[in-house]
């Protein structure tokens, strides 16, 4: 049986992520449980981890840091045991080396790169709404271009091109799906992206 744990460190609206995973499991007869938890044992026992994230980068990182032992356990899960890990929105950004949002703040540093502000270029900020995501290379999450729901003002400026799995255009071409071995991050919200979002979640659950 799969155990998907959505890491609870005080970030908003983790419920919809949980509901989308439960829906996918139910519709596809995937034998699984979906938890929202920050219990270290739950995380250790999980087959899949999801790191959500909403709001400011620094607040999110502090939320993770303030739970004793959590960062070590996440490291064990993703870096040592190499089990499937998915960061969503700021959860994706937290995989980076550092962020430039309101000062310089260190991230988890799992995928080399910096979080930078999207150039305004007369476009509305935040980048909010549906936009196209185009695969940059073959990957397990997304086969063909499709539309997903975004809400963000910062983007992952990825250092190594091989980690860029998909890109999106908004004033510039930015990385909308990042990946390194078992670790994935999506800048958009698959749990809010209708059937194509649920499909991407299904692909992750099947890893």
């Amino acid at each position: 049986m799969k155990q998907i744990t959505i890491v609870d460190y005080g970030s908003g609206n983790v419920l919809s992520a949980q509901k989308s995973f439960i829906k996918i499991a139910k519709d596809n007869n995937i034998n699984s449980i979906v938890l929202i938890s920050n219990n270290l044992d739950d995380i250790k026992k999980s087959s899949h981890l999801v790191l959500p994230g909403q709001g400011a980068f620094e607040t999110c990182m502090n939320g993770v840091r303030n739970k004793p032992g959590l960062i070590e356990e996440l490291n064990n899960f993703a870096i040592i045991d190499k089990k499937p890990f998915l960061g969503i929105c700021v959860g994706m950004q937290m995989l980076a080396s550092q962020s430039e949002e309101n000062g310089i703040h260190k991230g988890l540093g799992w995928i080399p790169g910096n979080i930078k502000r999207l150039p305004a270029n007369n476009l509305k900020m935040p980048h909010m709404g549906w936009n196209s995501v185009h695969p940059a290379k073959e990957n397990n999450l997304l086969k063909n271009s499709n539309d997903y729901y975004f809400v963000h003002s910062y983007y992952f400026d990825c250092k190594n091109k091989e980690n860029i799995l998909a890109e999106t255009q908004y004033g510039m071409n930015f990385t909308s799906i990042i990946g390194k071995e078992n670790i994935y991050g999506v800048q958009f919200h698959p749990e809010k992206s209708s059937s194509q979002g649920l499909n991407l979640i299904k692909n992750f659950m099947n890893l």
């Binding site: 908003g12 609206n13 419920l15 919809s16 509901k19 989308s20 829906k23 909403q54 709001g55 400011a56 476009l123 509305k124 900020m125 935040p126 980048h127 909010m128 709404g129 549906w130 936009n131 539309d147 729901y149 975004f150 809400v151 255009q169 908004y170 749990e191 809010k192 992206s193 209708s194 059937s195 979002g197 649920l198």
Partner: protein, 251 residues
């Protein structure tokens, strides 16, 4: 560019969907959860619930509907109507809303826009404005369009942006329920200075109106109720039409 969003709005009273013609004459049009699900499966880019019961005992009914909807609908959900405090916003977001829409409370105390945007992130704070033209100026009305606040709509919307709101939902009271098209004059004037997304509401009756709202009104999202609820137009049909008109929209 982000794609233009089509948002069906469900006016909810005592747990049921209703929609008024010029804010009165309510007609029952169904169960909100089923409707939201239907719209989501048929191409809606977002769903909006507007609670018009606005009495305290109905708050739990609303939270219940929001939670049930979030179980089955996987597109963004905005909830408005009677939102008056940070606590209200928190309970709505916890129940599964992605955004809340604030109206009268923001007029009474604009600081709530700033506080809630800072606390929850401005992406989930929509400020709704009901505007009506009197002589040659648009005025802001509060409490479901019943009280003229005396505020100039254009000035108020500029302030909403300054206070840090994430989006503006602008309803033309003159157009609402008339099916004669959006108030293009009002929308285009607001779009001139607005740097946050503008959601147009009030007056849509036919396909051409959707196109005008985008091409002339410069709106980022279009909200409609009756045309969808009574099956006069389907979202699919609206989208097919807009794609033919070269509007960047989600298929």
């Amino acid at each position: 560019m982000s794609k233009v969003r089509i948002i069906p709005c469900l006016d909810v009273k005592d747990g049921r969907v209703v929609k008024g013609i010029n804010f009165i004459d309510l007609i029952d049009a169904g169960d909100p959860v089923e409707q939201a699900k239907h719209y989501s499966e048929n191409g809606a880019d977002e769903i909006c619930f507007l609670d018009i019961s606005a009495s305290l005992e109905n708050r739990d009914t609303l939270l219940n509907i929001v939670e049930k909807t979030a179980n089955e609908v996987f597109i963004p959900l905005t909830v408005g109507g009677g939102v008056s405090s940070i606590e209200n916003i928190k309970s709505l977001l916890r129940s599964g809303a992605d955004k809340v829409s604030i109206n009268s409370a923001a007029i009474k105390n604009p600081e709530i826009i700033k506080q809630s945007s800072e606390f929850f992130g401005n992406q989930c704070i929509v400020v709704a404005v009901d505007a009506k033209k009197i002589n040659n100026d648009w005025y802001v009305f509060s409490h479901g369009g019943t009280i003229n606040t005396g505020l100039f709509a254009l000035e108020w919307i500029e302030n909403i942006q300054k206070y840090g709101a994430g989006e503006v939902l602008l309803t033309s009271m003159d157009k609402d329920g008339t099916k004669s098209g959006f108030d293009i004059d009002l929308l285009s004037r607001v779009a001139e200075f607005l740097t946050i997304p503008l959601i147009a509401s009030g007056g849509v009756g036919k396909l051409e109106h959707f196109y005008e709202g985008i091409s002339k009104g410069k709106a980022d999202a279009l909200l409609a109720a009756s045309v969808f609820h009574f099956n006069e137009l389907s979202i699919k049909k609206v989208k097919e039409y807009l794609i033919k008109k070269n509007i960047n929209i989600r298929q």
